[in-house]
Symmetry: C2
């Protein structure tokens, strides 16, 4: 986790921008500007809308990355948004990760993968790439991925090994930000613990052999900003586990609420905002449908930069 | 689930072939046969091995699909094996699904996705495709996908809605086949139930509004063949839930062991074998490195067909 921690210290900003584009979040003229180019490229016209939106997602992301790269340490593309468009979307996801990495950002792939051992080993190529040595090829360009714990240790170990080999990290779901997360994660066990507390202890254990110079392991935890009290308790329970904290902003999490998820030095957590930053242009009051695509992208970028600065300043205000 | 059930009845075979290729499972000469074609196509030579293996995976799958399409009702490509190769692998996954569908097979995408509501809605496009109506485009070509329950109801509902709209299905992880599955899934709750039993009840509930002509809902459950007693108890506990049963063969599950996961009519479960079928050529004693790529693919196909027949016959023998 040291690379991430250094990036956070460098920018003095423990926040990450979620690159989760949807059709509604990309200005229409940006999407429309690729119509001709795509129509010439695709063989089957039914493929055109997905291909067009995929290219628009990448350009939208690129504008945002350029606008925030000197402010934030990391971006977190949510692969589901790209997967929704099929293989063309996956290309846009990989291109987004690559571009963000080229701009010096830590790229956290929000993929929430998880499977039995042999299959988890295949997914772990997200971190280790395709080959070693001279023919090494890293198609995903991620510095970390999120992982689901439901399968237990043998579904996690391959990711930990890949992360260790490639100087990368993983973040395991512990307490997610959504309302229904309570249905499983909050169940009370016969031991008196909650399910998510038991998972928290597993996560702390999974990372134990990989603790870095800053005291945090390569196995982080996803802890939703919507659970401030539980997050604070988990901070104490998981002293070597770095937190990825989604749910800030649009989902209801606040700077005050996440303050308890940081350690005494103001480190130990990375707070994500997606819609609050990439959709800030919609609340700017400056958008008009008659704008050019370039002007619309400029507005997207400028609004995202302002929102990212606000978030940074709000977090700084509650940290030591 | 009615389309799957009809396909099983049609073939009189409740088994599914797992299309989980790895480099070790594809004869070397098949991979080598694409070297020249790929070298001409890729711009960056480091991309060549992944691109070459992706094409080989598809050709390998096509040979197997052709060999088993009249015997089995369904195939289950495991997307992790393709994702391991990056976007090129994802293309091979989508092409595999499309080809299997064209051959009349029910395509069960083993993707184990799961996320919060708005993100799950994006993943649900695996089932609903990209657009409706005239511009409808289905990039994934799946009839069903596997889903992870850790996020609770709001992570499942979008998949159920998409499945209902597209006459498709989902299978939610309940009790997986791997050794470490016990770490979370077997935990005893304060209520006296095990975690997986609680998940089982949620799954039965998630499907309640979607019960089809054959008495099974669109929300199936993944129950490992390696847990015969638990599987039998779950069969009684989940009367409207169809089971996908992985772990047969290479992982240790037997026909005798899975018999209890079927209902009294010998329906209600679909048993998966991957390596036991697609890797049968390695145990045939007929392979030689000097074979041509075509001959090697013929051996793969013929061995897979024999193994699929054996599995069908073994399952028929224990069912009413």
């Amino acid at each position: 986790m040291d690379r991430l921690i250094e990036a956070i210290e460098d920018k003095q900003n423990p926040s990450v921008v979620g690159l989760d584009p949807t059709e509604a979040l990309v200005p229409k003229q940006v999407v429309a500007s690729f119509a001709e180019e795509i129509a010439e490229q695709v063989e089957d016209p039914t493929e055109a809308p997905a291909a067009q939106l995929s290219v628009a997602f990448f350009e939208f992301n690129r504008a945002i990355i350029d606008a925030v790269a000197d402010i934030v340490p990391a971006v977190k593309p949510q692969i589901a948004m790209y997967e929704a468009l099929g293989p063309a979307g996956i290309d846009a996801y990989s291109m987004t990760c690559e571009y963000a990495k080229q701009q010096g950002l830590y790229v956290l792939g929000d993929v929430k993968r998880g499977d039995i051992g042999s299959t988890a080993a295949a997914y772990a190529h997200h971190l280790s790439g395709v080959n070693a040595g001279e023919h090494a090829f890293d198609p995903w360009h991620e510095d970390a991925v999120t992982v689901n714990p439901y399968l237990g240790t043998d579904g996690i170990t391959p990711f930990v090994e890949a992360a260790t080999g490639a100087d990368k990290d993983i973040f395991v779901l512990v307490r997610t930000s959504n309302p229904s997360s309570s249905e499983l994660q909050e169940l009370e066990l016969a031991s008196g613990e909650r399910v998510y507390e038991h998972v928290a202890d597993l996560v702390e254990g999974w990372g134990a052999e990989t603790i870095g110079a800053n005291g945090y392991s390569r196995v982080g935890a996803v802890v939703g900003a919507t659970h401030p009290e539980e997050g604070k308790a988990l901070r104490a329970r998981m002293p070597h586990t770095f937190f990825l904290v989604p749910g800030y902003g649009a989902q209801g999490g606040t700077a005050q609420g996440v303050a308890g998820m940081f350690d005494k030095d103001g480190m130990g957590a990375l707070v994500n905002s997606s819609r609050g930053i990439i959709g800030a242009w919609k609340k700017s009051g400056k958008y008009s449908e008659s704008m050019s695509a370039d002007d619309a992208l400029d507005l997207v970028a400028e609004s995202a930069r302002e929102a990212a600065k606000d978030m940074r300043d709000n977090l700084r205000a509650v940290l030591p």
